[in-house]
Point group: C2
Chain length 275, copies 2
């Protein structure tokens, strides 16, 4: 999928919502624990309930890996189910990988050949070697951590050489490693005021914005500062949707929450003249 196709998907659903599948066996409704694959069954119901309002899903791999290979099996089933449900849904492996050439190539093979993800999140610390094996896959995306939404993001991401901060250096340098059709950046929504600056240097790239919902951050502010002529935003919500209710009603409430965000997004897309 290229940027134009992603934008088309956003226009069709009037939404730039990404639902984070941070599925935690300790947090899902208790009645699911008696089923043969509680993790997959939870995801399936969440997907069925939210896919009308959602252009992307982002399973966070840590949650599945913490359960060993049975967790990985639930995850593979989830990705296959998403593809069955809607072939061109955008699926992000939130893996935050970052390793050298031959290892990065193994990861690219894992995510793009063995499984069927559209994109993988990557940590930039090791440089070009760790990103290029992903951007060489036609139609697939590397999503590079730039400015994250966690408290200790400031430990290193603001480290400054007098001209720019590390996160700006990361964006500037890594732009050479791909195109606006295969490179995206993670920019935390808690820094919505910084999106305007980021857009000066990176006007064209899609940005994946975590931190709306449970982690705070205003959707209107993000849209106002970060939207470009192809929308250029995927805004993620995880806990605010998938754990909004923890009874047998969870999927219905997840649908409501996703629908509310979709409606807000529709307003912003219209405001920007994109619908």
């Amino acid at each position: 999928m290229n940027a134009a196709q992603l934008f088309e998907s956003i226009r069709q659903k009037k939404s730039f919502l990404c639902v984070g599948l941070d599925t935690d066996i300790q947090k899902i409704p208790k009645h699911l624990l008696d089923t043969t694959d509680p993790i997959f069954n939870f995801n399936k119901e969440i997907i069925d309930a939210t896919i009308a309002y959602t252009v992307a899903y982002k399973p966070n791999l840590a949650f599945y890996e913490s359960l060993g290979y049975s967790g990985m099996e639930s995850l593979e089933k989830t990705v296959k189910y998403l593809r069955q449900k809607q072939e061109d849904i955008f699926i992000i492996a939130d893996a935050k990988r970052g390793d050298i050439g031959n290892t990065a190539a193994m990861y690219a093979r894992a995510f793009f050949d063995h499984q069927d993800y559209d994109a993988v999140t990557l940590a930039p610390y090791m440089g070009a070697d760790s990103v290029l094996p992903f951007t060489t896959y036609l139609g697939k995306w590397a999503i590079i951590l730039a400015l994250t939404s966690n408290k200790s993001a400031s430990d290193f991401q603001y480290f400054n050489d007098g001209k720019q901060a590390l996160f700006e250096k990361v964006m500037e340098t890594s732009k050479q490693w791909g195109t606006t059709d295969n490179l995206m950046y993670v920019v935390g929504a808690t820094k919505a005021d910084m999106l305007k600056d980021i857009r000066k240097h990176t006007p064209e790239h899609f940005l994946l914005v975590p931190g709306v919902g449970a982690q705070g951050g205003s959707l209107a502010e993000v849209a106002e500062n970060g939207m470009n002529h192809q929308c250029g935003l995927l805004v993620n919500s995880s806990r605010g949707i998938i754990y909004a209710d923890t009874t047998e009603n969870f999927a219905k409430v997840a649908a409501q929450k996703a629908s509310e965000l979709q409606q807000e997004m529709e307003v912003e897309l219209k405001k920007a003249g994109l619908l």
Copy 2:
């Protein structure tokens, strides 16, 4: 395992060798492909052949994940086999993870509770949040990427604020997040001349040194510049040992290669007065 216990293990085996289990289904001897679990069987023979010369093993998770959950199953079996074979062998999950608080906690649970690793490699980009959930596990280690051995390490790791490079900032800042009993750093052996400088600022910590063997780097130089009063080094070799021979003889040749490195290490340990 704390630093003193790791040093004791080094003294017993007269070796500070770590064998990297970068097990690639496309590179292992062909006769193993007919067995029920070629990856595990390869690892088992490598372990049997090299454990006399080795204090640590470092499976690179990308290689297993690229095979989906069957690869993860082979890996879990490998870790269990290592523990059976020698209970206090030091096992490193070369995962290069780096994620925020709740996700990092899931990863820590995955590596330390669900499986039985002693240490995990971590990328520092997201700061303290991504490391602290690991250092709170008693007897377990976080191994932070500082200066890596790949070509594009220089893309960001040398980014300089006028006082220090990013990799130095990472070491200086992250020292606060743990102790010399649960924090280690990755420092590439291609930069052996820089080890002397690093030792000025970080005299006590263990360093995990990749890049000896197939990736180049001189063991004598690493030892001379990097060794401290508890050895303070784990030197990794992967391809130089596990793929030294690709016939049915592979395990025997792996043993020879590991034995050669052990003998060189014994010389260095004696030179430093540690044996």
